[in-house]
Amino acid sequence: MHRTVKWGLLGAALCCTSMLAAAAGKSDPLGNVAASFKAHGQAGMDRLERDPMQQACSQPASSEPSAEVAKSISRSAQERVKPPSDGQYLGDWKAGEKIAQTGKGMQYSDDPAEPNGGNCYACHQMAGSEIAYGTLGPSLSQYGKLRGTSPAILEYTWTRLWNSHVYNVCSHMPRFGDAGILTEQQLKDVMAYLFDLDSPVNQ
């Protein structure tokens, strides 16, 4: 399920920038990264290769990419967002709850035959009844109740889940749709968990 995105011009531009830096004598402290790793199960060596966003965001928050690079990352992210094929944004909130609670998936120790989790609770508060939530991301408690279900907010939230870098160039959130972590149906189920007024998130 690895990314099959074509990076086009943006990739070419960043690649040349880094080549220029190398040519200018700025040595790479990392050396040969691949030599420190070995492929294991579903985690192949290709996972060490960085796309332009990953490369641009591989630095302290204090030195984020330039406005120009940021803009092209966001634009290219936006272009790749795929809305639901049937136009329906909301699936089954009960299935969404399980996805939000499950952190497994894509580690070399995970069974690739099992569906991936979204692990939303690792970083976000959601249902008020779940005390074991993380704080790396904002609270999503009462998400749908506070925002309603207008087409605009549904599309915005779908895009956030698909590729958060559309809105925040070096977002820490995984690109659940873009990177193929969750399927379209799983994304719909998580959407329902956020928006359905019967979901524990909105109690």
Partner: protein, 153 residues
């Protein structure tokens, strides 16, 4: 440098083990004569109490100390102190474990009616201390929450 953990004696070896086995043999008669097997294999509180010989009466004379929230249910500390006169036995139960009874202690004359142990708690539930004093069963209970941890579960 300080090594507080090195201050006690380390002994071992088969000779000592053999000696202790022999020396302790007659002592077994003093302890609860047989393992309360029915209580250990019971799958719920009711069955466990049956195995222990009756349903205990709640008592404020038992201090039960457990954490409100456990970082890891695999190891949950529990301290039990009984202020009931004539405390003979202390049992530690975890209500929603597959087999609630975790441990059964005999407290001989001269030993303080106190034990501290660490037990597995499979899910959020009550931890229960049952004390046998003067031939009767008493209990105290307290809930410990078991949470999901970390990043990838």
């Amino acid at each position: 440098m300080n090594y507080p953990r090195r201050s006690f004696l380390k002994l071992g070896g088969s000779a000592l083990a053999a000696l202790a086995t022999t020396a302790m043999w007659p002592l077994r008669a003093l302890a609860a004569a047989v393992r309360p097997e029915a209580a250990f294999v019971a799958k719920d509180l009711e069955g466990t109490y049956k195995g222990l010989g009756g349903t205990p009466t709640a008592s404020a004379e038992i201090d039960l100390s457990t954490p409100d929230i456990a970082e890891n249910g695999a190891v949950v500390p529990i301290n039990v102190t009984s202020k009931l006169p004539g405390t003979e036995e202390i049992y530690i139960l975890v209500e929603k474990n597959p087999n609630p009874l975790a441990a059964a202690f005999t407290i001989p004359e001269g030993t303080e009616p106190f034990v501290s142990l660490r037990v597995k708690v499979a899910q959020t539930c009550n931890l229960i201390a049952v004390v046998k004093a003067g031939g009767k069963l008493y209990s105290a209970s307290k809930e410990t929450k078991v949470t999901l941890g970390g990043c990838g579960g």
